[in-house]
C-alpha cells in the first residue's frame, strides 16, 4: 500500500462474483475509510468506521484485535488505527465474534500472520464458505465458555446459544466489567430485517448476560451502551414479538411496504418513533417478526429451545 491509500493491485473479493465488471477490482473493497478509536476502560479500546464497531486490547507485547471490519480497505485502516494507538505493538491475535464477512471477513488484509480465535460453529461456516480474504480460525474453541490469558490479557469467550449468525460469541472482561458482542444488541431499531437472527431463542439467550457483572456493553454497531440501555433494547425486541403477531391478526401483509410502514407508525411509533433509525428500520423489523408467526422460525437455529440458565 502506498501512503496515499491507492488500491492494491487486486483486492480480496469476499463472495462477490462481479469483479470482472470492474477490471478485476471491486471499488468498495479497496476503499480507505477512516477508523476512529477511543479508550473504553483499562487496556480496552474501541474502534469504529461510523457504522461498524469493534474492540482491541493492549497486551504486554502486542495487541489482541477483535474482528476485521467489512472490506480489505477497512481492515487495513483498522490495522493502521491500532498502529497509531500502539505503534510498537503488532497485532498477534484476532478474535472472531462470529462468521459474517461484514465483521470478520478480511483477516488476510488486516494481520495475515496473526493467530485467529473462532468458535467451532463459526469456523465451520467460514471453511465451507471459502470467501476470499476470510481466514479460518487457528485456535478453535467449543462449547459455551472458554477463558483466555494471552499476552497478559485475561478475557472469557461466551457462546450463549443461537442469536445472530453462527457461533456468535461475546467477549467478557470481568476485571474491567466490559462486555462486547456483535449484531445482537445495538442502539435503537438499527438492524433492517434482522438478517440471520434466530428470533425464537434470541431474547432469552441475550438476557443470560445479565447474570454477569458488567456495566459497559460494546456492540458491533454505533455506540457503547450502559447496562440499562442494553435491557431497554431487549425490551424493544420483546415488544415486537407481540406487535408481530398482532399485525397478522390485523390483516397486514408483511410484503406490502406501504401498508407495513403505515401500520408500524400507528402501532409502534407512539413509543419508539424517537429511537435511533426508527424510520429506516422499524417496519423492516416488524416484517421479520411477522414471519416468525407466518412461516415459523427458520432452520434448526431458529427453532431451538433456548438455554436460559445464567452464566
Amino acid at each position: 500500500m502506498s501512503d496515499n491509500h491507492d488500491h492494491a493491485p487486486c483486492e480480496h473479493c469476499g463472495i462477490f462474483t462481479v469483479a470482472a465488471q470492474y477490471g478485476g477490482n471491486i471499488p468498495i473493497q479497496g476503499a480507505w475509510r477512516d477508523i476512529t478509536y477511543d479508550p473504553v476502560r483499562d487496556n480496552i479500546w474501541t474502534a469504529t468506521d461510523g457504522a461498524h464497531r469493534t474492540i482491541f486490547v493492549e497486551g504486554k507485547k502486542g495487541v489482541i484485535a477483535f474482528d476485521t471490519f467489512m472490506s480489505p480497505g477497512t481492515a487495513r485502516a483498522y490495522t493502521a488505527a491500532i498502529g497509531r494507538v500502539f505503534p510498537k505493538k503488532p497485532i498477534h491475535t484476532i478474535v472472531y465474534s462470529h462468521e459474517h464477512l461484514d465483521h470478520c471477513g478480511y483477516a488476510a488484509d488486516m494481520a495475515p500472520n496473526a493467530d485467529i480465535i473462532a468458535h467451532e460453529l463459526a469456523n465451520k461456516v467460514i471453511i465451507a464458505r471459502g470467501s476470499e480474504g476470510q481466514l479460518p480460525g487457528t485456535e478453535v474453541w467449543e462449547g459455551e465458555r472458554k477463558s483466555y490469558l494471552i499476552d497478559d490479557v485475561y478475557f472469557e469467550m461466551l457462546y450463549p446459544g443461537p442469536t445472530h449468525g453462527d457461533g456468535n460469541a461475546a467477549a467478557y472482561f470481568p476485571q474491567s466489567k466490559v462486555l462486547f458482542m456483535v449484531d445482537t444488541v445495538a442502539a435503537g431499531a438499527g438492524y433492517c430485517t434482522l438478517f440471520d437472527w434466530h428470533l425464537k431463542p434470541y431474547i432469552s439467550i441475550m438476557r443470560r448476560f445479565l447474570s454477569l457483572d458488567w456495566d459497559i456493553f460494546v456492540p458491533g454497531h454505533f455506540w457503547t451502551l450502559t447496562r440499562k440501555q442494553f435491557i431497554e433494547v431487549l425490551d424493544y425486541w420483546d415488544s415486537l414479538n407481540d406487535f408481530g403477531q398482532q399485525a397478522i391478526i390485523d390483516g397486514i401483509d408483511p410484503h406490502n411496504w406501504e401498508q407495513l410502514n403505515s401500520y408500524t407508525n400507528e402501532k409502534i411509533g407512539p413509543k419508539h418513533a424517537h429511537d435511533f433509525r426508527y424510520y429506516e428500520y422499524a417496519a423492516m423489523n416488524l416484517s421479520r417478526y411477522m414471519q416468525e408467526y407466518l412461516s415459523g422460525g427458520w432452520g434448526i437455529e431458529g427453532n431451538m429451545a433456548p438455554n436460559t440458565n445464567p452464566f
Binding site: 465451507a128 433492517c192 403477531q245 416484517s287 421479520r288 407466518l294 412461516s295 434448526i300
Partner: protein, 302 residues
C-alpha cells in the same frame, strides 16, 4: 372450539386462525388439481382410493377450506400429505386438514418440524432423503426432488413426469412479489432451481399466485440472478446498501426495462434488493448458504 395455534401465543389470533377463505380449484390433468386462496397455492392428486395432498395452507381455517375444496371434486379421503418444506404458512396445519393422514417429508424438514413443536403441525411419519425419491402411493408414482438448499429447510419439488409439470413452493414465482425473501438461501438458489430445467416439463406450479410455463420459470430464475448482480454492483459502487430508498432506486433503475412488467415489481424490488445485497455484505447465512450446504447444530434435532 380453540384452533391450533401454530406459533401464535395471543388469544386474539383465534379469529385469524379460524377464518376459512374461499378457494379456487383448477384441474391440471385427469388426476392432478391445484387449489388457491388467491395467494397461497397447493396441489392434490386423486389417486385410486384416496387423495394425496401436498401441503396444508397456513392456518387451521385455510386447511379446512382446502379439505372442502378437495371434497368438491372427490369423496375419497385424504390419506397422504406431502410437505414441500417446513414452513407453517404452507405445511403448518395437517391436523386440521386430515388428522390421520400419513405425512411424508424430507429428513431435514422433519427434524426442524419436530424441533419447532408448533401446534397443529404434525410431525412427518415417513421420511425421505437424498436428491431424488420416487414413491408409489395408492397407485400413483410421485417423484420428489431436492437439488440442495433453496428456501426453508428440506425443500422438496414435485415432478409429475407423465404430465410434464413441476410443483415447487416458495421458490420461483410467476411475478415479482417476493417481499423480503424470507428464509431463502442465495448461495446456490439459482443454480439449484435451474437444475430443474434439465427435466422435461412445460407447466410450472408455484406455491403462490399464478401458474406459469417453462419460459416463465426460466425468466424467474433470470430475474433473481439479475437482482443478485445488480445488488453486487450497488455495493461495489458505494450505494448505501442498508437504506431502502437508495437500494430501490439503484436496482429499480438497472432492472426496470427488462423486468418492470412483472406484477409487483415496483412494490417489491426495494425489499428484495435490501435482502439480497446483505447476502454479499454478510456472506450468506449458515452452512445451508455455503457452496456445499450443510447444517450446524444438527445434534439438537436428534
Amino acid at each position: 372450539m380453540k384452533e391450533n395455534r401454530g406459533n401464535f401465543t395471543a388469544d386474539a389470533a383465534q379469529a385469524y386462525l379460524a377464518y376459512e377463505p374461499p378457494m379456487e380449484t383448477e384441474q391440471l390433468s385427469s388426476a392432478i388439481w391445484t387449489v388457491t386462496d388467491g395467494q397461497g397455492r397447493a396441489v392434490f392428486i386423486v389417486a385410486d382410493s384416496s387423495v394425496i395432498a401436498f401441503d396444508t395452507f397456513g392456518s387451521p381455517g385455510k386447511a379446512r377450506a382446502y379439505a372442502k375444496a378437495i371434497a368438491t371434486v372427490t369423496d375419497k379421503p385424504i390419506k397422504t400429505i406431502i410437505y414441500t418444506h417446513d414452513h407453517l404458512d404452507h405445511a403448518g396445519f395437517a391436523q386440521d386438514l386430515a388428522t390421520d393422514a400419513e405425512i411424508i417429508a424430507d429428513e431435514m424438514c422433519a427434524k426442524v418440524i419436530k424441533l419447532r413443536g408448533a401446534e397443529g403441525q404434525t410431525v412427518p411419519t415417513r421420511i425421505v432423503n437424498g436428491k431424488e425419491n420416487e414413491l408409489i402411493i395408492d397407485g400413483v408414482t410421485v417423484k420428489l426432488l431436492n437439488p440442495g438448499p433453496t428456501h426453508g429447510t428440506g425443500h422438496l419439488t414435485v415432478f409429475f413426469t407423465a404430465e410434464k409439470m413441476l410443483y415447487s413452493s416458495d421458490t420461483i414465482l410467476a411475478n415479482a412479489k417476493y417481499g423480503f425473501l424470507p428464509d431463502y438461501h442465495f448461495c446456490q438458489f439459482v443454480n439449484n432451481m435451474r437444475s430443474f430445467l434439465d427435466l422435461e416439463w412445460d407447466k410450472f406450479i408455484p406455491g403462490r399466485y399464478e401458474l406459469t410455463d417453462r419460459a416463465g420459470f426460466e425468466r424467474g430464475c433470470n430475474f433473481i440472478e439479475a437482482i443478485q448482480i445488480a445488488c453486487q454492483c450497488a455495493f461495489a459502487e458505494f450505494v448505501p446498501i442498508w437504506a431502502y430508498e437508495p437500494m430501490y432506486g439503484y436496482v429499480h433503475g438497472k432492472l426496470n426495462e427488462e423486468y418492470g412488467d412483472l406484477e409487483g415489481f415496483n412494490e417489491h424490488i426495494g425489499q428484495m434488493a435490501i435482502r439480497i445485497v446483505h447476502h454479499y455484505l454478510m456472506g450468506g447465512w449458515g452452512l445451508e448458504d455455503t457452496p456445499e450446504g450443510g447444517f450446524n447444530l444438527l445434534a439438537e434435532t436428534s
